[in-house]
Amino acid sequence: MLVAGVDVGNSTTEIAVARTEPGREPEWLFVARRPTTGAKGSEACAEGVAELLAAAERRVGERAHVALLAELHPVETGLVELGRLEELVLEQTAIARPASDTPSGTGVGAGTLLAVDELDGAPRAEPVVPVIVARVDYDDAAGRLREARAGGWNITAAIVEADDAVLIGNRFDRSLPIVDEVADAASLPLGARAAVEVSEPGASVEELSDPLRLGVLLGFGPEEARSARTAARALAGHRAALAVRVPRSASRDTTGSVATDLSIVLVGSDGAEETLDEHAAPPPPGAVAAIRGSAGERNGLLDVYWHTLPVPADDPGFARRLMRRRALALALLARGETGGLVEAIGRLCPGGARVVARESDAAVLGASTTPGAGRAPFVLDLGGGTVDLHRAEGAVSTAGAGDLVTRICAGLLGCDSALAERAKRRRSARVETPFVLHHEDGSRSFLGEPAPPEALAHLCLVDGRGLVPLLAPLAPEVWRGLRRAAKRDVLARNVRRAIEAVGGVPAGELVTLVGGSASDGEVVDVVAAELADLDLAVARGDVLGRHGPRAAVAVGLVLAFVGAGDR
């Protein structure tokens, strides 16, 4: 009988097709995978299964008679940005933003915002910060500033809409702090108090990132200290920045508590409620039954896991920018239902679909086909949504795996999930010159053909022979550290949580890593490092001796079916 083991994961669906006959080993004919086509357990997943079954039929020349399935545990992962509400509070009191790749001058200037056209009138007593919109040519703008200063205006800084700061500074005052490329310069509130800071190349703002100093520059009272703090955080780590105090008439009351709005409440399995402390270690699987608050409401939880985004130890500016965002990687594992999917897959095969094993039994059977393993009593399935520890007594699943690592990478790089998924697995390099690559280990290599202009001076993924630029201004060594930290913080920590949840694994025992994340050598490294104190033999699975850590459950389902004697 031709059978198909089908493993529908959170991110990948795998299939193993074999011919089974009584008294004989299965004849393996086709093993393949594709991205899952819906939320795990939903009927939409059947579409991907149908494609894989059709591909198998084309290869084998025959439709699988029956589809073999395991029990499913849907999981939902996400990145919660606690910083968003903080930014809303900030918008009510101040406009604060980094500016300019190419500012002019250095130092800090504060004063009243006014349009450069207003400099034509009689000079005012107070210091001013002219706003130069794009329709004003740089020669014209510099001329007006020169005349105004000669006429008695006290010009302390300037804000320019176009990329003209250096051109204006060179024609007016090279030392005056001028920021440019301020896209909404025309809509800044004229008459409001503003502060501009430009630091030396390679340095970052010092006064605008200090809440007390910024508060003084913008004329904040002590009651507005919170807003100054938020604004200061928004500017930290940038070379040039501007901050504008939003006029009182335009601002709303901001005395509401930020902390209350941002909190996430964990409801324990015993009903006790507790506020999530983002810097505390998550409780063991099963301890939290529901969550409430800013991450939404979810009941029926099997596990909750969270971790803050990793920060580079030697880049305080980047670290402060990340802290400002206060992003929290949060994964939830919720009970799901599989009924609809089993029936939908059943319609794809003449003999229907059968749930033939627990996922654990299938994983152990599949991993045991790794050459040299003999028997694989402990299998760690590092998947997209969960880390599952499988053993004879069943599975422990922890929330958060490869997909959460992807979300963290996306948060760190400021890119979409598709690019982050590639960035998670690929080496990176910085294109130093059109011909020189700077690699993650600090080495350099010379390119035969010049790198494309859009990759120049960017951190890039090395994808085959191509270079894919990333926008994050990170050195390759720093990005490697963050990427490895993301894998450690999610996958390695969840491996440990799973092992602790089953009461440990005996020293010297074999632990086989399978699943999509285990195909990433860096993941195997960080997991082995995390488990070093347990003295385990941590090995990567090689299912059937040729599929690496992939398809362990799909292959195991066929073996379970054969072992059950149901041929």
Binding site: D163, V166, T433, P434, P450, P453, L456
Partner: protein, 105 residues
């Protein structure tokens, strides 16, 4: 004598002032000379004269940046109407700074 880091050889009709402004804004020195010819050929010649091996050529239609180490084809090119943004991109190549995306549009 110190050689010029980046050299532009421009035929009549090339936007010399926009090129100069773009380089000035990026803080990169540029030597502009006038010469007859076609943009790519001028850029190739300019690259040979520039200390950084970066040459710009311009005619009444387009602007071209050529690397002396890869003279076979333009590294950047743009119509003359985009002189300022082309110049800033070329200056960023010289300064090893990231280019803005879509420098030529």
């Amino acid at each position: 004598m110190t050689a010029d880091p980046v050299v532009a050889l421009l035929a009549d009709g090339a936007p010399a002032s926009a090129l100069a402004a773009g380089f000035e804004e990026e803080g990169v020195p540029l030597s502009v000379r006038h010469a007859p010819g076609e943009a790519a050929a001028l850029a190739r010649e300019a690259a040979g004269q520039a200390a950084l091996g970066l040459g710009i050529g311009g005619d009444e239609a387009r602007l071209v940046l050529i690397l002396a180490a890869a003279p076979g084809r333009p590294y950047l090119e743009a119509p003359v109407t985009r002189g300022r943004s082309f110049a800033q991109a070329a200056a960023r190549v010289a300064a090893r700074r990231p280019l803005r995306l879509r420098y030529d549009s």
